[in-house]
Amino acid sequence: MDTPILHDKARDLWVVPVRHHSPVCAAHLERLIAEVRPAAILVEGPCDFDPLITSLCDPRTRAPVAIVSLREAGEGQRLRRAASYFPFCAHSPELVALTAATAAGTPARFIDLPSTAREWRGESEERPDRSLLGSEQGFTVGDYVTALARELGCRDGNEVWDQLFETRLAEDYWQGFFADVAQYCACIRGASDPADMAADGTLAREEQMRRIITAARGEVEGPIIAVVGGFHAGAIFAEDPGKPIAAKPGAGRSYLICYGMRQLDALRGYGAGLPLPGYYQRVWEARGDGLAGLATDLVTGFAAHLRAGKGETPPFPVIANAIEQAERLASLRRRPFPTRDDLIDAVRSSFIKDEIPEAGAPLLAELHAWLTGTALGEVPPGTGSPPLVEAVRTQARALGYSTEDGERRTRELDIYRKPRHRAASRFAHAMTLVGTTFADRTGGPDFRNDVGLDRLHEVWAVCWSPLVEARLIELSEAADTLPEALAFVLAERIAALSEQGKGRNALAAIDLFAAACRAGLGREAEAILGLIEEQVIEDPELPSVIAALADLILLRRGRDTLGIEDVAPLDRLTQTAWRRMVLLLPELADQGQDQVAGAVQALADLRGVVELAKSSAAPVDLALVDTAMAELLERPLEPMIEGAITAFALMGGQIAADVLETRLRGELASGYVDPRARLAFLGGVIMIARELLWTLPAILDALDDVITGLDEAQFTELLPYLRLALMPLDPREVDRLAEDVAARAGAAPGSLRIDIGIPQSEFAENLALDRELAEVLARDGVA
């Protein structure tokens, strides 16, 4: 055999095949390093990460952590984007190797292509959470692994790995262990398509590894250890004097961040690492004390988790049976201790006393989540994470938010009475505004819909996660503190708003203003008011100006909730918008047929705004609207708009009731060809002020007169449009109107309502019977 399997004696080079996040590989690697005493340790991983090794191995660093690398800023972007992650957990062989090197003062370095290399991008370019761990798909898919699983009675490649290797944690003979891993990986590689390896960058990466190893061989005396994914092990023994590819200076930047078990598990989507890292973490921690108690620890641990989290207490016999089950399954499957699948099988048999649907049971999902773990790692201050991340983390902790784990928690904030809660609320709003996923407001005062303004509490769902840190790292190029980051983001958003077609979107600007105020940026946010003003001044559409006005008045009303300290600029803006609205009002006279409905709706909204302005004492000149309406009435208008404006004028007191009545009678009796047109005026009146139907009897009088003058055919023709005109009424209002009409016709108010007292269906049957009887009677000439 040409290629050495583990140790190339001639070059004194050990190539150690590992699987990412495998405790058994980590444990044997520890033994190997202790025995070989290497002069240098080389680890698979982007070579531009070398400067972070010191931080990574700092005794205060607690795994899981990850190195995040930022991609070059794209065209027109000011910030680099977090592009990819290289995660480590406590039982990562890579981390164990680097830690051992640091402890012994042995030089250590990464030997893979730089994180900015084209080969890393592949098809996952667009994913924000790309992994820089090499793919380990060969361990889980492919004919070789499938056949092996069938042979061994395992359900998948991961169980095969557990069966063949993870069970050997307590062995001492690391030579035999790694020789077997190498053999296994060589078989997997043998079953892989070389074309794929070229396409996904594997071959290019291996060339880089060979070159860096060759270079390192020239630099140090004594044994060298290279820790690489088992898949590559056989391919990197060969000498290669070529020049390794170095990172482009300034192209990318990388930081060490806290990482989470959950994210670690999620990265498996790329085929790297073992599933359910929380399980392996426990195995790793228990390795010293032997693994005899593993099943007991895990099952009772899960039971305690259910008790604490869900308030469910599994009965003792169930727990005892599950432990027994796990141990017996392990023994049946010839394993020295229960592996992941044994444990899951045991819980499945013992805990769930019912059918398990194919989609899975909630309890099993809970078990998966628990075995995944929620722990977050820790990166000590001043060791590779940028100042912004540290500042925000400190601030979060000071405000009582947990940054210890990735658990989602609910926090209720008493925002008016407790200053600390108010600060916590501002922090949460600020984190939302800068674009992190830290906080999600699930309840509290809502200015936009004018509801709950008197509510005292805000409810937030908060979760500190690596994604939060990743976003902060992106921002760290622009800011060192949260207020700076806020100012930066706000400026960006304002710039974006002013670029997106001017005068188009005052509403988005108002939302941004409210968000900024809530984040405690009242002063800085005033710049947005200028923007809104620009947009309102140039807005040619009456409906959108009215909508903006409604929002502005609501904003003013909710000023305490929003934390707006100085209301004067807002007042000025409201007045500007008000004037703009008054300026646009005369245009209603020139509306085309197709714009009538929109114009009437805008007028209806305007009436709402006027009421809102009155009730909240907004500093606007209400008389301006009245004058504009009066002037409009002088001009020829579409009947529906005229009806709406007449009603408006009547409400404002510019015209008397009889003016409306005369106009209405004229319209109803008019000679329009289309009967719809005859009712348009009434429709306009009802859209603006339907209460006139019962407060102004003249309207009904007029209707009554017109309808009684119609013959059956004319009435039938008019009826659908009459109904259409009355559509805006709600059922209560319809009842009320009907009673008025009944009283007018001399009927008792209650006589209109038929209380049937029998079920609908029976009533319908009776009606049918009635009809049938009538027919029979008619046929027989008895009717």
């Binding site: 169930v318 049976n321 399954l329 049946l332 099988d345 769930i352 006393k353």
Partner: protein, 365 residues
């Protein structure tokens, strides 16, 4: 009983007597008390072992078999639940045969099952003549299993009224049954090796729910239909051969036809075709066992009433009987499947074309 007449279907321990004997001879792993084979040998018996010359008998879910074996070693009973026709009874028969050497201790659950079927009854002639005595006592299969340390099978447990089911509770927890008629201290204690395998049908849910006290004494295993079409096809063909072989019937062309049949069953069972189209699932049971029945009937038709060449048309004609069992709506659902999905496939292969033409002629309402 006359032992010379061959049984239509001998019990598992008779059918696989040679395999069981081989496994027992080679079995040197430790056995739980009362077990005829070690757990590993039981596993081999069910899942097959080429080296020992043992065929696979249960398909689709190997970890389930492991869990079932381990549950039977514990204090808990084993409850197999699942859709009809998912080989629950077969699994319980094989487990009982391998572990206890007999699969014949069975209580068949039905509305008429009484406590006597679970505890014991009396030979009334002897009871009147001698009074209560061991001789007059007629033990139930459960009591027999307790005394001999074997596995008793309780089929379709949810078909019994709950109060009858609950007679099992004390037997499972105490592993003993009081026999008060034989004296104040008369107790039948279960010998090591005793356990219960119950099966319950999900379609019967709501007929009789199980009490939670009873549920707690079982470990539940859900047996799902086989998801892998290739696997299911192999299984159907294998079982077809097992049925046709003894009758000396041979047909041709069964592989292609089995593919059409299994595809159809999988589509109707899951409500989604391999191409990703959705369809309405019939209420009727579309199990592998039903598929075998359809193949069997179609093969007999081909062999005896036709030229001996099995075609998809034979299968299509048998499908009507399967699908129209439960609800008339199912006919419409099958019609829609034929009109849209099968028609599409008919253009691509001869077998699907045969299937389509025959299925269109069916009266499906």
């Amino acid at each position: 009983m006359d032992n010379d007449t061959p049984a239509i279907r001998p019990p598992a321990e008779a059918r696989y007597a040679a395999e069981l004997a081989r496994l027992a001879a080679e079995d040197n792993a430790p056995k739980p008390d009362g077990w005829h084979l070690s757990p590993r040998a039981v596993r081999k018996f069910l899942l097959g072992d080429a080296k020992a010359g043992v065929n696979r008998k249960f398909y689709g879910d190997d970890p389930l078999v492991d869990r079932a074996i381990v549950s039977l070693m514990s204090h808990q009973g084993l409850m197999l639940v699942g859709e009809p026709g998912t080989a629950k009874s077969l699994l319980s028969e094989l487990l009982a045969a391998a572990i206890s050497g007999t699969s014949g201790l069975v209580v068949q659950g039905s509305a008429g099952t009484t406590e006597d079927h679970i505890r014991y009854g009396w030979n009334y002639a002897l009871l009147l003549a001698e009074g209560p005595s061991e001789r007059a006592l007629v033990p139930s299969p459960v009591l027999n299993a307790m005394r001999s340390g074997r596995i008793v099978r309780f089929e379709e447990i949810t078909r019994c009224p709950p109060e009858v089911q609950d007679a099992l509770i004390s037997i499972l927890s105490e592993k003993a049954l009081a026999l008060p008629e034989l004296g104040p201290d008369a107790v039948a204690s279960a010998a090591p090796g005793f356990n219960v395998i119950a099966t319950a049908n999900l379609r019967d849910r709501g007929v009789h729910e199980m009490s939670s006290a009873l549920k707690r004494r079982f470990n539940f295993e859900t047996v799902h239909p086989i998801a892998d079409p290739e696997f299911e096809r192999e299984l159907v063909l294998k079982q077809l051969a097992e049925r046709l072989g003894p009758a000396g019937v041979t047909v041709a062309g069964e592989r292609e036809v089995a593919e059409v049949l299994v595809r159809t069953f999988q589509d109707l069972r899951t409500g989604r075709t391999a191409e990703g189209a959705s369809l309405n699932r019939p209420d009727a049971v579309m199990s592998t066992a039903e598929a075998v029945n359809v193949m069997h009937a179609a093969a007999l038709e081909a062999a005896y009433l036709d030229n001996g060449r099995l075609s998809a048309a034979h299968v299509a004609r048998q499908l009507q009987g399967v699908v129209l069992k439960d609800s008339p709506e199912d006919g419409k659902r099958l019609r829609a499947y034929v009109d849209h999905i099968v028609k599409e496939r008919a253009g691509r292969s001869g077998a699907w074309k045969d299937f389509y033409q025959a299925a269109r002629a069916l009266k499906l309402g």
